[in-house]
Amino acid sequence: MTAILEFSDYQLANGLRVLVGESRSLPVVSYQVHFAAGSRYEKPGITGITHLFEHMMFKGTEKVGPEEFSRVIQANGGTLNAFTTTDNTSYYENLPAGRFELAVQLEADRLENLRLTQETLEPEREVVRSERKLRSVNSPFGVLVEQLFALAYEQHSYRWPVIGWDQDLKNLTLEDCREYYRVHYAPNNAVVVVVGDIEAEKVFRTVEKYYGHIPPQPPPRLTITPERPQRGEKRAVFKKVSQVGAFFAAFHIPGITHPDLFPLQVLCHALSLGRSSRFFEKLEKPGKAVEAQAEMGHPPFFFMDPGILQIYGIASPTIALETLEGEVWETIETLRQEPLADEELSKAKKQTRSLFLQSLQTLFFQGLLAGMYQVRAGDFRLAKTILPSYESITADDVLRVARKYLRPENRTVVLLQPVSQAEHEDLGEIE
């Protein structure tokens, strides 16, 4: 049994990379286009353009009307969506295998012929501002996480949120969108992934037919400044109406290709996955924390550049926030002093393997794994190294990464301090 599908690889003359994973488990395919476009590539002043632009990709071409793309895919039995991250923007259609060519045709069309107009930009700008209010401003902890990244990063573009700052969303122009489209939406900046009940040769021929004539573009001039190593703890306080106090902490860790990410993942699981985890036993079970977690994403969602391992604690109403935070750092300190016992190591490793195998159940995820490793790490084959990497982790590896990355000097903390409605209003509107 092969857990991860085998992929065939092909590149068009214009630079478009095509990866095909054949699977006959269901009569469907997942068609995905991953662009090397994310908030990482943005500049101050136009933050959020990557995500707003993702919305604009549904606004129609010369041949297809606004939002017609979605209607046509659904009318042919498909589901579809898109998502923007720090490091990639991805579009996908999961549809009956017999309708595969339709997805290729529509995706190639909007890569080449997108219609960008003021009339479609204006309502979409408001839709995105509403989405920002939902995810950040009015969510209990959304703004806290934004503040955390803004403080942890001083130079790198991960310091602003993928959805962008509200003022920038208000100021973005149609010209900004056109420029973004021209620079980032080129065949040589994209990877097409097809997974499912289809032959690789047929995919290569069809993709060649619809994308082959689209010219490549000069690669974008990158303006990404690497982050300097942090040399001491940074702290901030954010005040808002809240039922509970909470803290969110960030530790800088390496990017997606670094082998230390795997022991770090095992460490996160020993801390907070399952009811025998350290945080659950010490903090959640006795009712000190509503929730306490250590997380850093999972493959293929690891950051492309050096990223963040996040530790957060939401205090239960019966405990002072500083007491909770103190206990969390004590728990972390223990991990930096003593290696995991054999039983705890083997448990955390097995949990990690099991979770990864669970994620492989859908064709969609298998496609993401190949496409995002290609875009973020430069090689889809690296996905094959994940399971063996988990297997080889030792207690010494976990101890070493705990000492190296979970140092107080590498830590940034943002505290949520609950205030009254009157004080909340006095501090001005959250945007």
Partner: protein, 441 residues
């Protein structure tokens, strides 16, 4: 581009079943693609069986099963489950309670032994019960900051007042502190081994191995007392009523509007599903999304959905919008429903909805828990397993007339309950012409 989708035939995974001597029904669905197994023990009663004033008792009782057995303390049980890389959950939803273990197929027998132990030998340790209550109380306090959850819960509570669905399955800040350990123990003894329970195993384990293990280990007497069969009456009040939950700190309102709908097994369910795809469930193919998001830019998302329940569930339209557009958004939704009731769907919309529902149907059978969920729903809601195989054909046969009839019979703008979580002072006056407005904290 919109001709009828003809896909290579999709066949459901093969479902093997057996009836144990003790009366327990057992399903086995071999799926060897990945070395995983998902095990579900389902009891046909859920939070609707919470006694009056005891909201959360069924779900709390279910979770207590995972917090210690006569052989193992809660900590040892957790270490055992985590040590297998598995996840264990026990939850009561509406109409059923489910014990779920998801792990690696290499551990199938150990997982089954654990499930049996949890199900038949729970210990209900008093200190675990108290800690669980405290955790729930803390969670419920924190959830007061989650405007989406408040909107969903208040909408259902008010809509289903006087019925068994009138409370959150998780419990409330009023009821949880009052519950005592003996109540959970008694609830388990009285109602957790009812007739109609079934066991489902899906994954990389052959059916013979499943049945052999269950026959050898599940005791014959596991069937307990009969499930309390309630046939509640559901009452949809006439008139439009608005309830606002005042949250002056929010810059965006959460909106829910709707009324009591129909049971999953209702003969009009499938025509309603096709009709509602056109009206509210079809994403960018739906009239609501086109009007409220695309044309007006009022929101990021809007959806009309009918909950799947054994008894009538809620039909609700859910969205959110900045404070200033709260009333215009609701007004547009009403006007759209009114005109949709008059004009109905078009033939093209019908065809596209059918293509979507039938074409994307195989995607609902990808992961093990997904497949299990489909089977559990069919069983618990009384649809029968054949409904899973028949679905595409029956959907494809739905006519425009049936859709229009289902809208007229089951969509009632004149009986809507509107719940809004947001800055009520900013829009309260605008809502008053629609009907009574109540403000709650």
């Amino acid at each position: 581009m919109n001709s009828r989708v003809k896909t290579k035939s999709f066949t459901l995974p093969k479902i093997f079943s057996a009836l144990l001597q003790g009366g327990l029904k057992v399903y086995s669905i071999p799926k060897p693609e990945l070395p995983l197994v998902s095990i579900h023990l389902v009891l046909p009663r859920g939070a609707e069986a919470d006694p009056p004033g005891k909201a959360g008792l069924a779900d709390l009782t279910a979770e207590m099963l995972t917090l210690g057995t006569q052989k193992r303390s809660a900590s040892r049980l957790a270490a055992e489950v985590d040590g297998l890389g598995a996840t264990l959950s026990a939850q009561s939803g509406w109409d059923s309670t489910s014990l779920h273990l998801f792990g690696l197929s290499e551990d199938f027998e150990r997982l089954m032994s654990l499930l049996l132990e949890i199900y038949t030998q729970p210990a209900f340790p008093p200190e675990e019960f108290e800690q669980l209550k405290q955790r729930r109380i803390a969670n419920l306090v924190q959830e007061k900051d989650e405007s989406e959850i408040i909107a969903d819960e208040r909408f259902q509570e008010i809509l289903f007042q006087g019925t068994p669905y009138d409370h959150p399955a998780y419990g409330t800040l009023k009821t949880i502190p009052q519950l005592v350990g003996d109540e959970a123990k008694e609830f388990y003894q009285r109602g957790f081994l009812p007739e109609g329970s079934f066991l489902l195993m899906i994954g990389d384990v052959e059916e013979e191995a499943c049945f052999r293990w269950v026959e050898a280990h599940f005791p014959g007497g596991v069937r307990g007392k009969e499930a309390v069969s309630k046939t509640p009456s559901f009452y949809s009040p006439s008139g439009v009523k608005t309830v606002m939950i005042d949250r002056p700190d929010l810059t965006q309102s959460q909106i829910r509007l709707g009324h009591i709908g129909m049971p999953h097994g209702h003969p009009d369910f499938l025509p309603f599903e096709v009709m509602n795809f056109v009206l509210g469930a079809g994403g960018f193919s739906s009239r609501l999304m086109t009007k409220i998001r695309v044309e007006r830019g009022y929101t990021y998302g809007i959806r009309g959905s009918l909950a799947l329940r054994k008894n009538p569930g809620p039909y609700s339209i859910s969205t959110f919008t900045p404070t200033a557009t709260t009333f215009p958004c609701v007004r547009e939704i009403f006007s759209l429903i009114q005109s949709f009731l008059v004009q109905g769907a078009t033939e093209r919309e019908r065809e596209e909805a059918i293509n979507f529902l039938t074409g994307s149907y195989p995607l609902k059978f990808e992961s093990l828990p997904q497949i299990a969920q489909r089977i559990i729903q069919a069983e618990v809601h009384g649809l029968g397993l054949e409904s899973l195989a028949d679905y595409p054909e029956r959907i494809a046969a739905v006519t425009l007339e049936e859709m229009a009839l289902s809208a007229r019979k089951h969509l009632h703008p004149e009986r809507m309950l509107i719940v809004i979580v947001g800055r009520s002072e900013k829009f309260r006056g605008e809502f008053e012409p629609l009907g009574p407005v109540a403000i709650r904290e």
